[in-house]
Amino acid sequence: MNDENRGSWYLVTGLLLGVALGLLLAWVILPVRYAGGGPEWLTKADRDVYRGLIARAYLAEGDTPRSLARLALLKEKSPDEELSAEAQRVLIKQGDQALARALTLLAAAVNQPMLHITPLPTLPGGSPTQAP
């Protein structure tokens, strides 16, 4: 078969190949990154950090409604399960018992919103690195 008989199918093939490459680029390799959004758009790693900080702040403040409101910003289907799973990961990978405890307590608060904990005491006289 010579070039003339093959017609213009190679152009259609090229176009389809280009479309596939373009979609791969836009949806997989370089997807749109949402800046200026809420915590629900964070990567898994950053969600873990955010969740851990909420749990630490919960221990520090003892403010259950506020901590649950912060947790709700992540818009997770089962926040208690996410917290428990992260507590296990933290214990296994980092051995950070304080953080694991905070995550577990917050998971309990998700199931019992009326839960009341005593906040950790504030250190007297500020921090060691505080300016005079």
Binding site: D3, Y10, L11, V12, T13, G14, L15, L16, L17, G18, V19, A20, L21, G22, L23, L25, A26, W27, P31, V32, R33, Y34, A35, G36, G37, G38, P39, E40, W41, L42, T43, K44, D46, R47, V49, Y50, L53, I54, R56, A57, L59, A60, E61, R70, L73, P119, L120, P121, T122, L123, G126, S127, P128, T129, Q130, A131
Partner: protein
């Protein structure tokens, strides 16, 4: 003739890729959870820094506080604290919360000045 066909083929690939990329980025972007903490909106960042300040008040662990703050700005941990104080003032945070942020700012400043922020 063969060269012309190759050039036309590659042009069609480029045309298809450009069109599909524009569609994928502008018309129908994928709803991926791929933002970082540094991408958060200013009010969420302020609350994040407030949490760091609240935790710092109870454990005085400046290294841990710096670790959290460097996720908002990997060059200077003072920047997110100062931005948070501005946002907190605008959003009318309570006085104890503003005090906690101010304490954190002093501690971070001291740590950075002594070389702990690197």
């Amino acid at each position: 003739m063969k060269t012309v066909r190759w050039i036309l083929f590659l042009l069609m690939v480029l045309l298809g890729a450009a069109g599909a990329a524009a569609y994928g980025w502008l018309v129908h972007p994928v709803q991926a959870r791929n933002s970082q903490l540094s991408d958060l909106r200013a009010d969420y960042k302020a609350d994040y820094v407030l949490m760091v300040a609240e935790v710092y008040k109870t454990d005085a662990d400046i290294e841990q506080a710096l670790g959290y703050l460097l996720r908002l700005n990997d060059k200077d941990p003072l920047v997110p604290v100062r931005n948070a104080i501005k946002a907190a003032t605008k959003l009318e945070y309570s006085l104890p919360e503003l005090d906690a942020l101010a304490d954190l700012e002093r501690a971070v400043f001291a740590a950075v000045a002594s070389g702990g922020g690197n």
